[in-house]
């Protein structure tokens, strides 16, 4: 009997240990091993935060990710406010939703147009795609710009916003300030609607699995900052109970930790999870666009995450416009904080899924211990499981194409390796042996 074994190996950079790599081993047309290594910057930051003031947490953690700094700031401020027993007034809460809308628009537009669409249209990257579809790429850049404008307006700067603080903002915008982006957002909303229609027509591999989707759920809002952690398999817990239900496990092939649900295993966070658990909380416009795109209120094909991301961009534009219209400037830009020795927890919905922060703080407000669980490490096991299920059905593909499709399957999750691999190269190597 002939033993046929193949290995798909994608290294991002051999010279930098543990940065990120995909390894798939196939033997006798069976996948025998899948290892996805993703570098995780939060481990460094958890140690770096020890001994720092609670005030520094939002700015320090914002530096973990160049694409989603607002998410890190939001989880940090909410966790600190949880520790200090602070309740935030509605206008500040609205501003936080608004800045988060900006980040979703920016991050999702980057992924939809620059990183994921080329996979579906058969281009190696957005540059080659732009040669044939300049108008589409321009559309993506325009959308992204609207998100940037919103983050810059509220955050003081579009990248590493400096205006966010524990308790609120350093400076609250006036109603007139917010009105300056209304027109741009109205135009972005139209562009987002066109985007939903465009991505709905892309070709999608037939691939579905029975996932456990986990997301925040709020009684009447599509989630950004608040809610309980729920799943389609019965999870329904307060954010403070996160560590009782989720565990981070060391896996032999990676320095990163895999997050799993205790006694249950892999779970799925991000746009698909949010959508499936909160469809009825989307705005009527976003719900209608999703239905017109052929989606039902539950979607279990991760390749269609590009449609869900587009629906969320549309929602974020719509929600931002609503928030701007109903905004009343707060009396004070931030509430007063009295540090106390305590532990605080928060989960917010980063563009890629739930981002958990926990801080133990002393009575001087100094951080004793920090725990940060980013969405990508929560999806890591699910991504590997997807490849286990996906590869056997595509073994007839030529090597390059199979490798590409594996990468596309990983990109379904928009894994946050982009910010940590700013200078890294993609080196492709595939070995076949008989």
């Amino acid at each position: 009997m002939t033993t046929r074994s193949r290995t798909i190996k994608v290294d991002y950079l051999a010279r930098v240990e543990g940065e990120g790599a995909l390894y798939v081993k196939i033997k006798n047309d069976q996948v025998t091993d899948v290892q996805l290594k993703i570098f995780e910057p939060p481990r460094f930051f958890e140690a770096f935060l020890q001994g720092r003031s609670y005030r520094e947490a939002p700015d320090i953690t914002a530096r973990i990710c160049g694409i989603c700094p607002v998410a890190y700031q939001m989880s940090a401020v909410h966790a600190m406010e949880d520790a200090f027993g602070v309740t935030i007034p509605d206008p500040i809460r609205a501003l936080r939703r608004l800045i988060y809308c900006g980040e979703w628009i920016e991050s999702h537009a980057l992924h939809i147009f620059m990183l994921h669409a080329p996979d579906f249209l058969g281009y190696a990257d957005a540059i080659r795609m732009a040669k044939d579809h300049a108008d589409i790429v321009q559309r993506g850049l325009q959308l992204k710009k609207a998100g940037n404008a919103l983050v810059a307006l509220l955050g003081g700067r579009e990248i590493h916003p400096i205006n966010v603080r524990v308790g609120g903002f350093y400076k609250a915008p006036t109603k007139r300030d917010l009105a300056t982006v209304t027109e741009q957002l109205q135009s972005a909303r139209e562009t987002a609607l066109e985007t939903v229609r465009w991505v709905a027509a892309l070709p999608f591999p037939d691939f579905e699995r029975d996932y456990e989707f986990v997301a925040l759920q709020h009684p009447n809002e599509y989630p950004f900052n608040d809610g309980r952690l729920v799943s389609n398999h019965g999870l329904d817990i307060a954010v403070q109970d996160y560590n009782a239900h989720f565990v981070e496990e060391h896996v032999s092939h990676s320095t990163a930790l895999h997050s799993v649900l205790r006694d249950r295993g892999a779970y799925f966070v991000g746009p698909l999870a949010r959508y499936n658990l909160n469809f009825d909380r989307l705005s009527p416009l976003a719900q209608e666009a999703a239905r017109d795109a052929g989606l039902s209120p539950v979607c279990t094909n991760p390749f269609q995450s590009i449609i869900i991301r587009s629906v969320e961009v549309l929602y974020a534009c719509d929600e931002a416009l609503r928030l701007i219209e109903t905004y009343e400037m707060p009396d004070q830009p931030a509430v007063r904080i009295e540090p106390r020795a305590a532990t605080g927890h928060a989960c917010t919905e980063a563009p890629r899924g739930i981002l958990y922060h926990r801080y133990q703080v002393d009575d001087q407000g100094l951080i004793r211990e920090a725990q940060i669980v980013p969405p990508t490490s929560q999806n890591q096991k699910t991504i590997e499981d997807d490849l286990y299920a996906f590869v056997p059905h595509h073994l007839d593909l030529p090597k390059d194409e199979l490798t590409w499709q594996c990468e596309q399957a990983i990109r379904n999750y928009d894994p946050c390796i982009s910010c940590s691999t700013h200078f890294l190269t993609l080196h492709l190597e595939r070995e076949d042996s008989l």
Binding site: P41, I127, L141
Partner: protein, 162 residues
Amino acid sequence: MIRIGVLGIGNEARGDDAVGLVVARHLRHETQDHVTVQEVHGEGSRLLDRWQNADAVILIDASCSGAAPGTIHRLEPLTQTIPHGLFPCSTHAFGVAEAIELARVLQQLPPRLVVYGVEGAQFDIGSELSAAVLRAVPDVVRQVRQDIAAFRTLELGEDGHA
């Protein structure tokens, strides 16, 4: 007056990757007469917005091509493509080279563009600038100043007010 943008790109927490930011900080106080100096974090497609209103742009980033650490590469992308592997970047991300090539396709490159790549030695998270890169910083700063001066002269010449 010609509008000159100096953009230092990098990641503060990744050793030599911060060199673009460090060079920008050295030049920060020279922001005058239509020269703007900015630090750019995050992904590269933002560059297209950043240089939209500039007549001349100077970019500084860390490079990772295998040359000796501290080597300074100077490129003029309007007349040359960025050599493959100089600013290597995962295909999942969008880096300086990708931003420049995308802008070229979309005809959105600034009218004048100079790119510096400073060859890095260490990119581990939490690491400092390496000695070789630290030694190169004054040279890069000097060269960027020369570029700024040259752009100004160029404009004065064009306007006939030398």
